[in-house]
Symmetry: C2
Subunit: 251 residues, 2 copies
């Protein structure tokens, strides 16, 4: 028995999210089917996180156990031959038998892209949130700084979430500009359901003046979803990287 680790990239708009569902094409479902076809075995896929429908991934991580004699590094190519083009296994490698993509994850990096302009650019529209009003980037950076740290992020959790605790550690929120694109990078030890999208909606509300420049601390203290901004659209979000010990891969 071997445990095969995967780095997976996909277009969120091509799938009904990560988690397997009946009667809908999901990333987990496609990987499970592809791995079963390649190995001839029933396969369970363990993913690092469940991305929502529409959310893209550049560095999603997953693993599965198999008795197959296919060399670990060849699985990327073998699986891709059975996957839709909108999902690619970018690399595959052997991991210890007790490695689990989700339980062993130490942190994640998400990237949110905001396109600033009156008219959506068709070349980036599938990967960004178009905002036509003015955003004060310095205000957004200051508010982002107020969100960094270990907090109870209950205000930034979608209703109906089942997480045991809403305390999370956000290590970094970096906002950079690339022409009309505003790129917000989040790094933390974990994120609640919709947390990155609600944080982004809140930063945009502060940048536009809809919320006060110093509103972030009060929103966190409120522990109330209604205190925060809107949930930013899924298509602007990308799961960029999952961190593990030992150079990001537990070996």
């Amino acid at each position: 028995m071997k445990n095969i680790g995967l780095v997976v990239a996909y277009r969120g708009d091509a799938f009904a999210g990560w988690q397997i569902q009946k009667n809908a094409r999901t990333v987990e479902g496609e990987l499970k089917r592809a791995a079963a076809e390649v190995t001839g075995e029933p396969v369970t896929i363990y993913g690092a996180g469940r991305t929502d429908a529409g959310v893209h991934a550049r560095g999603q991580r997953a693993n599965f156990k198999t008795a197959s004699s296919i060399p670990a590094e060849r699985f990327a190519y073998a699986l891709n031959a059975h996957l839709p083009e909108a999902c690619r296994v970018m690399s595959s490698f052997e991991v210890p038998l007790d490695f689990h993509s989700r339980y062993d994850a130490k942190g994640k990096c998400y990237t949110y892209r905001i396109y600033r302009g009156p008219i959506a650019d068709p070349l980036t529209a599938d990967f960004s949130w178009q905002v036509s009003y003015f955003l004060d980037v310095d205000r957004m950076r200051a508010a982002a700084g107020d969100a960094v740290g270990t907090h109870d992020f209950k205000s930034f959790q979608a209703a109906g979430s089942s997480a045991k605790t809403s305390v999370r550690r956000v290590d970094r929120i970096a906002i950079t500009e690339d022409g009309p694109m505003l790129i917000v990078q989040y790094i933390g030890n974990g994120f609640l359901y919709n947390m990155v999208r609600i944080l982004t909606g809140t930063l945009v509300a502060i940048g536009s003046g809809k919320l006060a420049p110093d509103a972030m601390a009060g929103i966190i203290a409120a522990k109330d979803r209604n205190a925060a901004g809107v949930t930013a659209p899924a298509k602007g979000l990308e799961l960029t990287r999952v961190y593990y010990e030992n150079n990001f891969i537990k070996m």
Copy 2:
């Protein structure tokens, strides 16, 4: 009568190229239909250049004449309401009655994107050429330098082209790296049919070692399409900008 200038962006994969055709969706055809619907007049669209099927545009330029009283700046919004989402008029403005997007163009900037990696990234696959073999970027830069200048680019012209002369002036070929992406930017006074794609295929052949590092001068001198490299795929190419006198807009 007013002359309306447009900056147009579109996804090349959504259209059968720029030029109007029967029984195929083209950018020119969609703009002509949209402008007729908005103005209630038959409209002729003058484009700066005919991009091929699959070639993207961020800064294509076009103009049309109309007796409509719609303010010039509003045409972008009015036309977009009648255009498919894959094509957006990014801005509209009045230009002199004798302005012609093609005849008055002084130069163009094209961008070609090469994704270097064994497996195509689904998030960039629609906008880049995936090359899985090693490319020596320094060799490509040296060869690009050999192509800059005023030359007869007959070797880089697709068969069946009707251009009167194949002499063109290339002002700049800049090659930059952004992670796995190699970005080649071309600026010149004009480009022959398929010239940017054949230049890119030739630079890749030199970068991979299929052609000698100093091959460029000989290929230009040969004036023979067979001397150059392959035509790089359309999907990696973008018409980035068209230059005019007076801050790029003839006023």
